[in-house]
């Protein structure tokens, strides 16, 4: 299971890459493996204002539908349009495939997310 350093991680298995005031969000290798083959991704509209915890993305695998929640508050500034035709990119390259990015209103909301080592420990603990 690949875990990439330099990213922040949520307990719901999203990764967050921070570039200044922008948070770029995707799902982790663990998440894509647990979901199985992903067949549909419903992304939010650009410029939509979201608050932390809001449901912004719907990922559908062959087996299940899974909601992805906004890890921080802000405005959606970019979505990965490639996912409309190639949702399988999330399986093939989860860390190279972002889902959306968000212009944060309060970057301090990032405090408390895990780093790579903490996320690895989190996964190992949740397996037991």
């Amino acid at each position: 299971m690949e875990i990439k350093t330099g990213l922040k991680y949520t307990e719901s298995h999203e990764w967050i890459k921070v570039e200044d005031s922008i948070a770029i969000v995707g799902i982790t290798d663990y998440a894509q493996d647990a979901l199985g083959d992903i067949v549909f991704v419903e992304v939010p509209e650009v410029e939509r204002k979201v608050s932390k915890g809001a449901e912004v993305v719907n990922i559908e695998s062959v087996k299940v539908a899974e909601a992805v929640y906004a890890p921080v508050s802000g405005t959606i500034c970019e979505i990965n349009e490639q996912l409309e035709d190639e949702p399988e990119l999330l399986n093939e390259a989860p860390y190279d495939t972002f889902i959306y990015s968000i212009e944060m209103t309060d970057p301090s909301e990032l405090n408390g997310f895990m780093d790579a080592a903490e996320y690895e420990e989190f996964i190992n603990n949740s397996k037991e």
Binding site: G36, D37, V39, F40, E42, N58, E60, V62, K63, A65, E84, N91
Partner: protein, 366 residues
Amino acid sequence: MKITPLHSVYANLPGTKLVDFGGWEMPIQFEKGILAEHRTVRNAVGLFDVSHMGEILVEGSDALAFLDYLLTNKIVGSEEGRCIYTPMCRDDGGTVDDLLVYVFSGQSCLLVVNAANTDKDFQWIRQVLDAGEWNCKAANVSGNWAQLAVQGPGSLAVMEKISKGFEPGAIPYYRHRRACQTAGVTALVSRTGYTGEDGFEIYCPSADAPRLWDALRAEGALPCGLGARDLLRLEAALPLYGHELTDSISPLEAGLSMFVKLEKEGFIGRDRLLAMKEQGLPRRLYGLEMSESGVPRDGCMVYLSGETSSAGVVTSGGKSLMRESFIALALLENGRVKIGDEVEVDIRGKRKTALIVKKPFYRRSE
């Protein structure tokens, strides 16, 4: 949870994902994943462990007559060696289960039933037997049998390689042959399946199952899980008990009238089914194909365009690789829609448009 005789063979392989399927711990997928497994069955050959299926043996001089009364399809007069698909109904026309009857002889048949229904079916059969004066008995022999399914256009070639003393290709569609030698294992082999492809189902004693599994794998059959099996049967529009058929859905509503012989004298559910047919079926199973992207799933409500009250509900849905679209089976009010009509499916609170299309969604080319 219950496990099959093959559980220990694959449970610890990397990539195997096990789930609770009606009280059985079964593989939903193996290493390559559901979509790759689906493609393999459509293009080459896949191997399924379906040992969770139940087997009930009915024997005695009245065996066939009893089954004619118990089941909706015609059993009396069937030749030895036939496999007969049939619903089993309640008095009110609801479906107890759908199953395959293997006609061994004029006095002996094996019923292959859905895993989760095995106990319910056996109880039902015993109850019907006890209520009449039948000269036959029923035994739940599920524990003795393992069942493997070899499915896909390459299945005959694989079967030929492991078979001795019989020609698997000489077994016609929906026929079986007993005491076949396959990979050194004595087995019952039938030309049947649940994928919409050519294929075989092999029944052998539980202890022999790992040997047969390994031999089939060695000939190139790819292990496939229940996830692929579900997608394959959905494309072929084959009903799955608990979805298209339940205690409260009749086989006529599920589009299975060719397996309900209403002209047959007195069988359980006949009066109600006949009345239902004469008065018009309240609901019917339709095929849907999404025009807008979204995955219709079991339980999604279906609406006629612009209407506020629903016309029915999705019973199964998913992505069709063969059509490259999202498809569903839905039980809708009869007569409200026809092929080509547009409907709306409520997917996670959003109404998305779909077309009523012909079933099946996929049919193999001969």
